[in-house]
């Protein structure tokens, strides 16, 4: 059984918060965020080839990646890594080219739970409530076809 995702979308403030536990050490979860080869394997939704133009997960670094949707449409995501502290914390910006200039700031805390387990805590801040609601809707839509299916079988 996989660990549940706790998601909260508080009313009246343009935030999205999540918590997710992993049955793996904090170093491994951090490495999966840092290593471009690993990122390209889990960040892209089903039926989208994710192409990393660059992905430099360190303080002052930046990223740009493209999903080619099932319809052949490219979806481009860009941002900068404002702060990255190993196995601990990261702040990055996030922009989807379908919504230019609507940039969110994502705070990620990597927490060691002991016993080889860890927790990822995310806090996203959007420029407006409308941006939060609209972004979540259309920036994500394209990738949703058969989302679950592939995952269980991804590496089996």
């Amino acid at each position: 059984m996989s660990n549940p995702l706790k998601l909260s979308v508080p009313e009246g403030v343009p935030f999205i918060d999540f918590e997710r536990e992993f049955d793996f050490p904090v170093e491994a979860v951090f490495e999966a965020h840092r290593n471009p080869e690993m990122i390209s394997k889990w960040l892209g939704p089903r039926n989208t080839n994710i192409q990393l133009d660059h992905y430099d997960f360190r303080t002052g670094g930046s990223y740009r990646y493209t999903h080619i949707g099932p319809d052949g449409q490219p979806y481009v995501f860009t941002g900068v890594f404002h702060t990255v502290r190993e196995n601990e914390f990261a702040i990055q910006t996030f922009e989807f080219d379908g919504y230019p200039d609507v940039v969110s700031i994502e705070f990620m805390t990597f927490e060691d739970l002991g016993g080889g387990r860890s927790k990822l805590i995310g806090h996203s801040v959007y420029p407006t409530l409308e941006a939060r609601d609209g972004m979540a809707q259309s920036g994500m839509e394209y990738g949703m076809s058969e989302g679950y299916e592939r995952l269980d079988g991804l590496l089996s």
Binding site: I16, R20, F24, W42, E130, G134, Q137, M140, M144, R150
Partner: protein, 118 residues
């Protein structure tokens, strides 16, 4: 009204805890204003005002039954309201499951296995 305007209205309507309680009550079935006002410390007029706000956001409808005029939930509107966040949740969940799988394969290459759950 555009979808976006409706969505805004719905979020505004649900920003108030009393109106959320009314919605929760209606999720168990239609109810009259009197029934809805019962658990509240506020006047029936205030409850009626809340219901009007919910009506304008199309979250509830009133029957044309002149005697009772019960209030009904509009499930379609509530679904529209949750659809976008469900979308977001699905994407996140699928990403994290994929991440689990990556970590799993890395660990088994290195001869480790998943930590047992508490």
């Amino acid at each position: 009204m555009t979808d976006d305007e409706l969505l805004d209205k719905a979020f505004m309507a649900l920003a108030d805890p009393a109106r959320r309680r009314i919605i929760a009550h209606l999720s168990r079935g239609p109810a009259t204003v009197n029934e809805l006002a019962e658990p509240f410390e506020i006047t029936k007029q205030a409850v009626s005002r809340h219901i009007r706000v919910l009506e304008q956001a199309e979250l509830v409808t009133r029957s044309r039954d002149a005697q009772r005029r019960p209030v009904h939930l509009n499930p379609a509107r509530l679904e529209a309201l949750t659809a976008w966040i469900d979308q977001y949740r699905l994407v996140r969940e699928s990403q994290f499951r994929a991440l689990d799988n990556i970590l799993e394969s890395k660990a088994s290459q290195a001869g480790f296995s998943r930590a047992p759950k508490e």
